[in-house]
Symmetry: C2
Subunit: 321 residues, 2 copies
């Protein structure tokens, strides 16, 4: 042993998505020493997937064998921290309840911890990103869906059954837009996800025939296309983000009055729209807060590179465990 005890100095982070699985080996400073990915949907069985993951990672682990491996952190949709199981994830091939933490731990021979993907993102932000040193914050991921991770009293909020923090499914417009998958009326995700923004864009361009959004082919009308048209000064495109930001801001105000966080951190593809969405979000957030909460809560973007955040977040579970 040298001057420093480097045993247990590395963690593996694995982010399992419906299409791709990203993995990496991370040190305490949040540096990704090795990384790679494989196609999740190439593996119809969980056993096949774990074998492939092990085969892919083995050479990477061997290359870092001078250091001890403390454990593996897993982020996955519908991942339950308490049970280590993925439960009925709609976007994965593996149906029912999958005891993935146990299976991975057995295969790799080190402890494995699971959480859902948004909680993993929050962990990453707390350990390496914009939430360093914070004990109370909320992470909102604005991607294809809307996810969230909540930290209170310095602890990840898992709740009684491990499913706390499903803020994308909170009803923000009772009787409002029907969700394409859950069927709920007026949930946050129905408006403020990339999917929701596309719906809003389609609706508003139909009502505004002179909008440049009408020049975008149907299949290319996503939040990036709306952003590009906003940059060209198209009023309808700007209104798409204003409307989205209003609903997001109102929801954030409610979240603040629940847990009184130091900061709200936004993450995901949608935030590429920058101030087009941030300005109305901030404005409607402040407007809907009780005075005792106003002008106190930081509303910031994630500080992690989107490509690395999922791996870092999953690996952060290992240090916390």
């Amino acid at each position: 042993m040298g001057l420093l005890d480097l045993s247990n100095d590395l963690a593996i982070g694995i982010d399992i998505g419906g299409t791709n699985t990203k993995y990496g080996i991370v040190n305490h400073r949040g540096e990704i020493l090795e990384k790679g990915e494989l196609k999740t949907d190439d593996y119809p069985t969980i056993e096949g997937f774990i074998n492939a993951l092990y085969d892919a990672m083995k050479p990477l682990i061997e290359r870092q064998s001078g250091y001890g491996l403390k454990g593996i952190g897993l982020g996955a949709p519908n991942g339950n921290y308490y049970t280590g199981t993925i439960e009925y994830a709609p976007n994965l091939h593996w149906k029912g309840i999958i005891p993935i933490a146990k299976l991975v731990s057995e295969k790799f021979g080190v402890p494995a911890t699971l959480t859902n993907d948004a909680n993993a993102a929050a962990m990453g932000e707390m350990m390496y990103g914009a939430a360093r040193g914070m004990k109370d914050f909320i992470m909102i991921t604005l991607g294809t869906g809307v996810g969230s991770g909540i930290v209170a009293n310095g602890l990840m909020l898992y709740g009684h059954d491990g499913f706390a923090g499903e803020l994308g499914h909170i009803i923000v417009r009772p009787g409002g837009r029907k969700h394409w998958s859950t069927g709920a009326d007026g949930s946050l995700e129905a408006y403020c996800s990339a999917t929701g923004i596309t719906i809003t864009a389609k609706k508003l361009r139909a009502e505004n025939i002179h909008s440049k959004l009408n020049e975008v082919p149907e299949e290319k009308l996503d939040s990036l296309a709306v952003f590009e048209m906003a940059e060209k000064g198209d009023e309808t495109a700007i209104e798409v983000f204003r409307y989205t930001g209003q609903i997001l801001g109102e929801a954030l105000a409610n979240f603040i009055m629940f847990s009184s966080p130091e900061a709200i951190i936004l993450f995901g593809g949608v935030i590429k729209a920058g101030e087009y969405i941030m300005k109305p979000t901030r404005e409607h957030m402040e407007k809907n807060l009780l005075p005792i909460f106003q002008n106190k809560v930081k509303l910031v973007f994630s500080e992690l590179k989107e490509a690395d955040a999922a791996i870092l977040g999953a690996s952060a579970l290992v240090w916390e465990a």
Copy 2:
């Protein structure tokens, strides 16, 4: 000293309300050994109030002098746990920031801890009531206003600045009923407090001229009067609670998707309406939950006597400290 060490076996609980202040001496089992009250609004200065409180409590404390006094817990509107100060409470004479925990501690010579009244109620429920043994629950107080106390990971949720859990001020109907005091449009308190129920009753009786609610004099039209008419089979009175329960149930569903509690505990004058309000609340709560949360969360009434709950809740702060 006898067989048991009884030092530090007693706590004082003081609940400061706009009109009355209730105080008591409580043991570990939640038995109130001594109690009394004084009129808060008789004392225009905080110093006068604390002197009067001390003079009133001194003989009670002396009567229990065989036991040690561990400390004093205070519940008050806008009470901040972190700072021990009451901040800008609209219903109290004492304006600005009042360092009440420090003043009480100096006067009584024991440590004093402050929290807001709804958090104190949650503490009482956790120590002596329906939430015994629970690590994740939400307490909702339905009185003149709507208050809340949230417990997560076994800890009271205070948030970054001590003001977490203002669920009465969450917006449940964007653009809806204006709040008489905050000016917010569509907050939970505007609909589900006793005050909100009276507004709903006035509105619905005006629209339904045959309703028995029209027999109640204007100044007596409160949630108890509506309950009495519901008991007599008046459809409009029943609709008042159904409407209130729908909005409350929708809000509770959102709270559950935030913190995934084991139970939601309802407390306060409004719950005297029993199943008239519970049934629609439960129904709309379940209906608005994601399937993973359905039929899991207990929705129950407080188990503490309303007259004692405030004192017990405040005293519970002492054992936690």
